[in-house]
Symmetry: C2
Subunit: 178 residues, 2 copies
Amino acid sequence: MRLTTKGRFAVTAMIDLALRQNNGPVTLAAISQRQQISLSYLEQLFGKLRRHELVESTRGPGGGYTLGRKASEITVADIIVSVDEPIDATQCGGKENCLGEGHRCMTHELWAALNTKMVDFLDSVSLQSLVDDQLAKGVVVENAPMIKRAISSAPVVKPIRVNAPNSVFALGGVAFSK
Amino acid sequence: MRLTTKGRFAVTAMIDLALRQNNGPVTLAAISQRQQISLSYLEQLFGKLRRHELVESTRGPGGGYTLGRKASEITVADIIVSVDEPIDATQCGGKENCLGEGHRCMTHELWAALNTKMVDFLDSVSLQSLVDDQLAKGVVVENAPMIKRAISSAPVVKPIRVNAPNSVFALGGVAFSK
DNA sequence: GCTTTCCCGACTGTTTTCGTCGAGTATAGC
DNA sequence: GCTATACTCGACGAAAACAGTCGGGAAAGC
Ligand code: FES
Ligand code: FES
């Protein structure tokens, strides 16, 4: 199985999204700032998530992303499979053909079994349960005022696409290098 | 967690070794030929396995490798950890410090749990059980004649270190390219 | 028409992985 | 001793995977 930062970031971003989507669509720029993930990278990730129908998008001002279905019906496995394509631990990729003809190699069953275990587990964890965990831990969700347009006075920091403060390693706070 | 061909090869090689070690030490050259794994690569792998005391080595003619302890007391997790060092699915590597100070990130627990599942499973499979599987499937172990020295006549194919027939992808039979 | 926001594909730099090579050491048998 | 067998070690290099960027575009709202 493949488990990379792509999958980790995707899960983190989805939690962020699930926590806040009641106030309407959430923009990637906002997620980028909160979670310190590069905006460009998020775009890539959410492109895949959308194609797998885990999220829905709304364009234009006030737009952003929303969950494609209820958080309780999205599992971690769904998310990871969406962004990290193959979730398979075997060498042959499930085709049982490491050897010439229909003969699986000595260890095929072992990897297949491992695979099943992992998928089963990740499939047993729903996005909702992760969200609940966060709420239980007292994460504060700024209940955005839903103001369509503030009387533009304060020079709001515009989220620019280039170079998020530098997404080194952090997933939610102070960034620090490897 | 890291799961690469290194780990797969190591497990395959260990099965081969376990199947045949009753006839005395097994050479890497022999394993290399049977399993189509490059000899040089096997040397690297077995170096690590030896440092982790999973195998023991005997030098000189007639030498080779033997299991370091009973097959029933070696688990797949042991093997993989030996060659693929960190068996950890979290970003922080267990130190719980994706964020600044002692704060674990939103997903730490998730990855840690996954990790535990995987290790538990791999730890529950012993080398002995894999060997039994193979025997049950009718794998033929050439019960080598234990002849110390044949009356050298037939030009025995000497296993040379250079270029195993080309270890493309196969783990035990006809090789074929990716 | 202007801004916001998503959308897409191609691209590049780094890291990891896979596998090789060369030189060396211990042991056994003659 | 000499030689052949085998393991031992470290450095090296090509190739693939990964992480992240960039530029241009298209819908939506005002
Ligand atoms: S891993 Fe599936 S046949 Fe070898
Ligand atoms: S993964 Fe451990 S703190 Fe983030």
